[in-house]
Point group: C3
Chain length 377, copies 3
């Protein structure tokens, strides 16, 4: 147990969101110096309303912010917090109203995006990986390394691998024979590309992601199961992000294909021969069975599952934990198990809640009817 | 964004499934040379109906195939595609009918399995791992290495480990003290066996699979939780396949046991002291809580969950995302939450859909009854 | 297939739970010598009722135990097994009754916890990791290493990292720049801490766990998605256990925070900016979307999901596979999709089962009413 006694609650909201005071940055320097609100306004293109000379030391949310922090209001639902926040300044949109004395407003078109600029301004930096090959890495002599690549300690780069210019392999990355990584892509620790798998340019693969493990195909036999050979590959487009410990299986033949700009969260499973089209978004723990097709800009919320050989039309959104058991048209919103139009699922859920009452009503009707029938006889 | 413009759709179906033209194999050779349909027929034991002299360069599905590819028809649902496929030849079963001119049929008993032979014929090969121990691997001198084992770069083999003949450890595999791997088993990159865990012969463990992490056992205390010691092991039979990043926990005492011929997909969780009997099949993201028992040939579809201390009878199939909350008998089909007979779940789902209408009907009955009762008074 | 023939069932219950006879411990010694029941009673503070001189060689469960094993009865549901168990002795609670001849009882206050002491007594030990830094590890010279730390083969320790006294890094652990690990914490193979992430004292992180991958934040644009910079960290308290291949994302700014004594199972996803308070317990495959808050001692059962920005009150328990779609109060029990009070969910499920019958009843009422109305006209 901690010195402070059991079950002291962990953290004030403020504590939760801040770098501990006095923390030194890994490069040995003190925290970034404070910035004035005017400097911040200039950095993110905001119009200043109020005192621009106040100094702040970092970003915070409205609820947890203190007088040396800057915050933002993106969702009108939280507008009330403008009246109570301790922040020195708040990024707000065009229509936010707040006449509170002592609170400086930084008016921008899109407070959420502008705040990302502020977050970056105060971010504790860390060293970019050095270009070159660490002596402990094992790189096959037939591999082709682009200009400025960085191959960290204990990586393994197989025969015939191609690395684009500026590609970064963090420690422990393993690239199988003939794998390809495009320009500027970053593979975090322990990412594995099985042989012949390809990743495009400017991708980010987080730690432990596995591309190209065998698809899960077995034919039943009298003795058990016979493996269906998995001889295809995984081909990933440009500007793709794949989360930690996610898995994308190689195809039976041809390729499991992930389009450009696709964003995949952690612990996601994409089965063999799936097609995930451009800019689709797969949240954490989503699972897609084999040969499923996800059209462009589809969004699958967390833990949703898609059955094999199904297709989901462009732009359709599937709710968290939903189970897709049939093809879904484009442009819809679906949820529940089995996945059905979200509006219908909500209505059914509401009716389900009233089902005990309905059953009682039916029993009463039955009794009244019995009574009436007696009289009618 | 990609040079080719935003949101160009990724890929034609054809593009999706083919090695890019001109791709060189990692060993530096050109793609496998073309084969005649007659050669293919001979390779997979098919009876040729049509022109056997046509050359093909690879396998494809019916929809995406072009004139230099060979395809197959396994599911009668797709029989219509025989009339439109661009393939030069198609593997079909005994009863497929297609009199289309210019389409060669390769008639076999089981087109799906025969096609696996064709897929292998055209597969881009990659080098088998070299036998021997890579100089960067760290192998304890007390480990026992069978004949012809292959231990790749950056592996760690602990004291007392036993590796059977021909076992393959891909880069970064870690075998804890006293672990055992049977003859011919292949452990892909970063697989971890905790101390004393055992894997049988001819198994395949995909990248990132973890066998033997502590079971999740904690007794509540006033201060929080007290760990229940997890002193057992994991014992895996022969001919087992375990998917990428799957986890099988060690037992509290004794062993968590995986039978022979069991097939486990990616991201699956098997809790401590579970028993998974021979030839059971666990699809991706399935979770089994502690001390669950899965009898022989059970199939758990993707994302299904099984509660602790439960048993599922031999040959039973559990649907995707189903939640098993009680013992299930042998030979059944169950689905939904909580898992119930599949037929019942479907019926309930259909009735649920009509529930809003039912509620309306009941209201109408109520009104009609009110009216009648008024008249009867 | 195995030599012994296809589908011989794997294992008798007994076989399932025991170290194979004759197994040698990795250190080359034979199995731990047998203990008398009297020795065991003394070891775990039990009152002996019966013959204390009998020798046992290990722990087993009631059903599978043989005459040279000791077992325990914790759950009254299994009291009947006292009459049939083959065990030489059984740990029982104060009120267990069993007059069976030849069965020795070891009476304790809490048989489950006392049995943990017995399990430890017979556990096959394995060597503790040696203190010091393995020559193949790559440790930045600016890292600060506490007394007695153990850094195994192929670890990578970045600039500015701090390791507390007695911390253990198993093979392949990667610690990014500025990461911190507290006194006595153990990181199993391939654990990854991204830069600046912190783990407290006496924690256990199992193989493949990833702390600090980017939170999943993307703003929609005409061209696809724009990444929301993820500049925060992950901060984990003391006495925390995190399961194999689990993922905890870094915050957008500030920290994703895991309290003291939190226990997290395998394959769990914790999104960016979440707060998991002291002694919460997250079972396998649980998923928490961004900025969710889990108060102290909350329990999320396996595969449960929590939506973004939601809060679950202290001590509340959420059932397996439940989908939390709104805030939940403290001290409750919730289950199902969407998560609702467990009692209500059970009632609705029961009514759903009777829905087909209800629909039939309503049709009958309709007919009887038609008949009555005809008569009333």
């Amino acid at each position: 147990m901690t010195a402070g006694g059991a079950f002291a609650t962990l953290a004030s909201p403020r504590d939760r969101r801040r770098t501990p005071p006095g923390a030194r940055r890994p490069n040995g320097q003190e925290r970034a110096v404070a910035k004035t609100l005017a400097e911040i306004a200039e950095h993110c293109g905001a119009a200043l309303e109020g005192d621009g000379s106040r100094l702040v030391v970092g970003p915070a949310d409205l609820e947890g912010a203190s007088a040396d922090e800057v915050s933002f209001l993106a969702n009108p639902r939280y507008a009330g917090l403008l009246g109570t926040t301790g922040a020195a300044g708040v990024l707000v949109g065009a229509d936010a109203e707040c006449a509170r004395e002592g609170l400086t407003l930084l008016r921008v078109e899109d407070p959420n995006r502008a705040f990302s600029r502020v977050v970056e301004l105060f971010a504790d930096g860390w060293s970019p990986p050095a270009a070159g090959v660490h002596p402990s890495a094992v790189v096959d002599e037939s591999a082709s390394l682009g200009e400025g690549v960085s191959i960290a300690a204990h990586c393994v780069v197989g025969p015939g691998v191609t690395l684009g210019a500026g590609a970064v392999l963090h420690p422990g990355v393993v690239l199988g024979e003939g794998a390809r990584v495009g320009d500027g892509s970053v593979l975090h620790p322990h990412v594995v590309l099985y042989p012949l798998c390809e990743v495009g340019a400017r991708c980010v693969l987080h730690a432990g992601a596995v591309l190209g493990a065998d698809g899960f195909g077995f034919d039943p036999t009298a003795a058990g199961w016979e493996k269906v050979p998995q001889c295809g590959r995984v081909v990933v487009g440009d500007d793709v992000e794949i989360g930690a410990n996610s898995c994308i299986d190689r195809a039976r033949f041809g390729a499991t294909r992930i389009g450009n700009m696709v964003k995949i969260d952690n612990l996601v499973q994409v089965g063999h021969n799936c097609l995930v089209e451009d800019a689709a978004l797969l949240c954490a723990q989503v699972g897609m069975a084999g040969t499923a097709t996800i059209r462009t800009r589809v969004i699958l919320a967390g833990q949703a599952g898609v059955g094999g050989h199904l297709e989901i039309g462009a732009g359709t959104q599937v709710g968290g934990q939903a189970g897709v058991t049939g093809n879904l048209p484009a442009g819809g919103a679906f949820t529940g198990w089995p996945a059905r139009p979200a509006r219908q699922a909500l209505r059914e859920t509401a009716h389900l809640k009233r089902l005990p009452e309905l059953a009682r009503t039916v029993r009463e009707l039955q009794e009244r009817l019995d009574e009436l029938e007696k009289g009618a006889r």
